[in-house]
Symmetry: C2
Subunit: 337 residues, 2 copies
Amino acid sequence: MARYGGGRATLGTVARLAGVSSATVSRYLNNPTIVAKRTAERIRATIAETGYIPNLLAGGLASNRSRLVALIVPSVSHSIFNDTVDAIVDAVSDAGYTTMLGLSGEDDRRVGTVLDAVIARRPDGIILTGMAGDGVHRRRLVESGATIIETWDLPDEPLDVAVGFSHREVGEAVANMVLAGGYQRPFVISARGRRARLRYQGLADALRVNGREPPHVEYLGYTTRFGEGRSRFAALIDQGYRPDIVICSSDWLAQGVVFEAVARGINIPADVAVVGFGNLGFSVEIEPAITTVDVRGSRIGAKAVEILVGRAAGVEISNQHDTGFSVISRSTTRISS
Amino acid sequence: MARYGGGRATLGTVARLAGVSSATVSRYLNNPTIVAKRTAERIRATIAETGYIPNLLAGGLASNRSRLVALIVPSVSHSIFNDTVDAIVDAVSDAGYTTMLGLSGEDDRRVGTVLDAVIARRPDGIILTGMAGDGVHRRRLVESGATIIETWDLPDEPLDVAVGFSHREVGEAVANMVLAGGYQRPFVISARGRRARLRYQGLADALRVNGREPPHVEYLGYTTRFGEGRSRFAALIDQGYRPDIVICSSDWLAQGVVFEAVARGINIPADVAVVGFGNLGFSVEIEPAITTVDVRGSRIGAKAVEILVGRAAGVEISNQHDTGFSVISRSTTRISS
DNA sequence: CTGAAAGCGCTTACAG
DNA sequence: CTGAAAGCGCTTACAG
C-alpha cells in the first residue's frame, strides 16, 4: 500500500489526489452512477493507485447503518445449522455486508453475553436459530433496533420475523409415514431440545388421533451423536425391544442405528426401518439408505438474508415465512413384515 | 430501553445524567479502577438505569482498536476446522472481542473478496486456516496492520505468526505406525488439498527411507465425505486390491471405509486396519474403532486467540507455534496376518 | 482523579 | 453533479 502522510490512505487522501471533495468520493463509493463519468474515472484510478480501502467503522458510525449482520447459533461443530450458517455468511457477503458470529452454547446458555457483545456493534440485522429466549433477551433484541430474524422455527408471535418450518408438522408427517407403512412398533430416540420435543408431540398426537399409543421415546442430551444412536439401539435390542421403525431426531443418531443394525445382521428395512432428521450430506450415502426429513437449511439462511436486505431497502416484510420441509423416503418400503 | 432525547442513550447521556464528563465515563468503561470509587458507582448506576450499551463502532474508530477478529475458513458445514472455529469464537468473546466470520470457499477461491470485506472493518487480528495464499493476498494482509495468524500449518516463513503442526511429520508418524505394525500393502485415500498432499509425501518419503515403495494413493476432491470412503473402498476391493491398511485423509473417509468393510464382512483390524485423520467426535464411537491423528483443533484456536490478545498487550510473540499432534491407535493391533 | 477539546474517517442534508 | 460543513459516538493527549 502506498502511504500518504505516514498512514494508510483515507477518503480524504483519495479526494485530494483526485482533486474532488470527500463528499464526492463518498458518493462514488456508495452510488457510482450519481457521479459524473469523468469524475468517477478519476476517483477510480486514484483508489487503485493508493490501494484505498474504506473504513467501514467510520462509515457505519456516520450513516447509522453498520452493514453488519449478527448470526447467533449454539455452536458450529457438529451442528445441524451449519448449512444455514454457510448460506447466511455467503449471502451476507454477496450483499456487501459482514457477518459477526456469536456462539450461544448448548441450550442457548450464553446467549445473554453474546447479545450484549453483538448489540454493541450496532448490527443492521440479528439472525438467531430457534426462538428468542426469555423476556430480557427479547427486550434487548427489540431495543437494538436491528431487524431480528428467528430461524428454524415458526413461533406464533415472532419477535420480528421468523423463517422456518413447523416442527409439529414434521412430527405429523412422520406419523403419516408410520401409519401408511403399517408400522406397529415405533420407537423414538430423541434429543431433549424444545424443537425435537415438538416433533415428538406432533408424532404422538397424530398417532393418537388414529387410535395408536404414543410411541416409546428415549430422550438424550441437547446434542445427539452417531455413537449414541449406535449404543441406544444396541441397548434397546438387548433389552428385548423389537421396534419395526426407529425414529431419530437427527441423521447422526440414525446413522448410528444403521451402523449397529448392519453389524448385528439386522436387516434394514425388512426388520426395522430407520428415520432420521436433517437430510445431512451423509444420509444419502448410508447403505441401506435412511429416510429423513429435509428442512432445506440453506434455503432458510438465504431467505433470512433476503429479508434483511429487503427490509433495509424498505420492502414490506411479512412476519412468518414457512420454508416447509419434505420427508425423503428411502428404504422404508418393507420387504417382509 | 429508556430513551433520552428521542434516541438511545449515548456516552454523553450517561455523562450528563451522572454529572461527569464523557471522558470520565469512557475511562470508567475501559478501566474502572482509574475512576474514583464514588464517581464509578454513580456512573454504574446511571448505566444500569439508562440501559446504555456502548457503541463499539465509534469506540473502534476513535481508539484505532476495533476489537474485531476476522476468522476466515473455507466453510463451516462438514469442515475439519469446526472445533477450531468454536474455540476461537469462544475465546475471542471471552477476551471482549467480536468475531467476524468469512468463508473463503473450497480451495480458498473466494479469499480475495472476503479479505477486502474484512479489512474494511479494521480488525485487530485476522486468523486464517492454512497459509495465506498468493502474493497479492499476503500483501493485503500485511498492509492491513492486523496481527495475522495462520493456523493448521507451520509455513517456513509465516506472514506474521503461525499456529499449527507439520503435516509432513504427521505423514512420517503414520509411516512409523505402518512399519511398526508390519503392514505390507498400504493404500491411501486422500483429499487433494495441499496439506493432505504434504501428509502423503511425509508418509511416502519415510517409507522410501525404509526401502519401501510409495503407497498406492487415490486423490479425491478438496473435501472428502463418508460416502466417498465407502465407495472408494468398495471399488478398491472390487478391483482386486487387498490392502492390509487403508490410510484416509479424514475420519469421514475412514468411517466410510469401516462401514463398507463391516457390510462386506471384512474384519477390522484382522483383515485391514483403517487410519483416519482429525480425531473427530465420532471416530472413537465407530466399532471397530479407527486409528486417527489428533491435531487438537480447539487448542490451535485457543492458542491463536491467546497470541492475538498477547500481542495487543504488547507481549513479544514468536512466529512459530507448534501445537503438535498425536497418533491415537485403536484397533491397529492385528489379530491375524 | 477529572474535564475541555480535538480528532478518528466517514455520510449527508443543504445550497448552489 | 459537486462542495463546505456539521455530525455520528466515542477516545485520548493535555492540563490541572
